[in-house]
């Protein structure tokens, strides 16, 4: 006998939404740390370092996230590290986010007008000082709107963790759908939850972009 799709199920899905947002936050933080390294490597004057970062971005962006997740999921045990699947998946999402954030931030660093760098040089600032005090503060302003936009992508993409059994929003929806046999209602509810989280962020990203342009 199937259960009725009820408020209890919706509450269960809300806990899943909590995990979705949590996973996306972890990926954003982990991805930001690794992504800044990738972005800095990418703008390095050393061609080997720059190429290395470029290769990393190419491979991660050229692999479907689902396959990346499978590799992380099985790879942890393969390397002999016994961790909870959620940890392996969180690490995989961080690596994934690093490739995209690294690329976005590289673009931001490079779009700071050249005169700024030359001005800093003329004032006698070294390479590191120029980067830290002149380039990065201006690049951050340029980088914020696309970073928020990518965070929306991250929230949506955590749904793929459901395939490897992480109980986030999409997985809770699958469980509820199997118990109630009301796939249309259940997945519409899940979609509505995602929309309610993502759409405001999309609007914020768009608003920031407009403000930057004016």
């Amino acid at each position: 006998m199937f259960q009725q799709f009820s408020l209890t199920h919706v509450q269960f899905m809300l806990t899943g939404l909590g995990w979705t947002i949590g996973l996306a936050m972890i990926a954003l933080i982990g991805g930001s740390i690794a992504g800044s390294a990738i972005a800095l490597m990418r703008v390095s004057v050393n061609p080997v370092i720059s190429r290395l970062a470029q290769f990393y971005i190419f491979v991660v962006q050229g692999t479907p996230l689902l396959v990346t997740l499978f590799i992380a999921y099985f790879g942890a045990t393969y390397l002999g590290i016994s961790v909870q699947p959620i940890v392996a998946i969180a690490v995989a999402f961080s690596f994934y986010a690093a490739a995209f954030l690294g690329d976005i931030w590289r673009g931001a660093i490079q779009s700071v007008p050249k005169g700024q760098r030359e001005g800093a040089h003329a004032l006698g600032l070294g390479r590191a000082d120029t980067l830290i005090h002149i380039i990065v503060p201006q690049a951050v302003r340029i980088a914020i709107p696309p970073t928020v936009g990518f965070f929306v992508q991250l929230i949506k993409n955590t749904s793929l963790a459901s395939v490897v059994g992480i109980v986030e929003l999409t997985r809770t929806a699958q469980i509820v759908s199997n118990a109630t046999f009301k796939p249309l209602e259940v997945y519409m509810t899940a979609a509505a939850f995602y929309f309610l989280v993502c759409f405001p962020l999309t609007l914020v990203s768009r608003g920031l972009e407009k403000r930057l342009k004016s």
Partner: protein, 223 residues
Amino acid sequence: MGYLDFTGVLSRSDLLLKGMLLTAQISVVSMVFALMIAVLVASICLSSSRLVRLPALAYVEAIRNTPFIVQVFLIYFGLPSFGIRLDPIIAAILAMSIYGGAYCSEVIRAGIQSITKGQIEAGRALGMSPLTIFRYVILKPALAAVFPSLAAQFILLLLSSSVVSAISVPELTGIGNDIQGITLRNMEIYLVIAAVYVILVALLKGSMTVLERVLFPFKFLGR
């Protein structure tokens, strides 16, 4: 640390090839449909009437702010509630076209907006019909202008095709799951699959560059 043994995986390269072909097929078919949806939706989004614009904008925002896998599940598991039962491959192509259409429509809209008014007025002055103007004065230069962004969307669409393995479509990732079930060599299979996707993406990138030169030779004049 275990050792890697690729023999089990590589002896099933015929299966992998089949999966790769299906991935390529559903991706290319979806790209064509997505482009058609995108041109239609982009033109509707630029209509002067708010009432006409609203459904198109709602479609774009709804698709862009919900996960692709949920859209796939809605089409494959949700549509039977309306008595529509689809074959997994058809459901996959439908989902990918709708998904890709929303993203591409934003790109094409930007392209159409980049056409200056003077161009359209010049077309009118030359006595072109509205359809001719749309086709040759608006659409073609617009597509030429945004072609690189469109190519990037197509690559994302190719990668998103792996998600339809969740509704048992035997494309590359789905085949990978099958081989994993037989050989239990999970690490090897997914490494091979990842490499195949990287190659497919590189191939698509290359063909898009060639296609750009063939379709829009005027972009490369005088270079």
